[in-house]
Subunit: 71 residues, 2 copies
Amino acid sequence: MEDITFENSLRLARVEKGLTQSELSELAGVTRQTIGLIESGKYNPTLKLCLILARVTEKSLDDLFWIKEGE
Amino acid sequence: MEDITFENSLRLARVEKGLTQSELSELAGVTRQTIGLIESGKYNPTLKLCLILARVTEKSLDDLFWIKEGE
DNA sequence: ACATTATGGAATATATATATTACATATAGT
DNA sequence: ACTATATGTAATATATATATTCCATAATGT
């Protein structure tokens, strides 16, 4: 599997909604740690979780996770 | 983790590019089986793989994987 | 100073995404 | 009928996403 680095703007979206990591994690049904690690780019979440996070933050997949690479 | 069913249009995007499952799998660096199972909705791919598939098919994440749920 | 909240980080355990290998079937070409 | 290609499916193995638990720290309020 190639090494695509993906920036994500989950933290921004979360703060915009006035949520803590704990609150978002409860809404998404995952642990606080999982949220923290996704925000800091150390986790490679599954599509299902990405979709849940998009729904909860009222953003699209592209908004949250779209590629920013220098091609 | 909630049970969000996600339709995906990966198969359509692949066929539009004139690719077989094998060819797409090679381009994406995964096995043919993985592609087949994602296309048939039986796999929950990781974000990295979704991003690779989007790049290879020249579609966005939303194009390929965005939610179609009856809310 | 103490308590509470929010976050980061690490160690271990569990669930699951993906690989590997193999076999089956349908279709198209010869 | 035979061969090759494309796809589906299943069993087992491996890698990794996520949970669980615990500790640390910074910020804020009392």
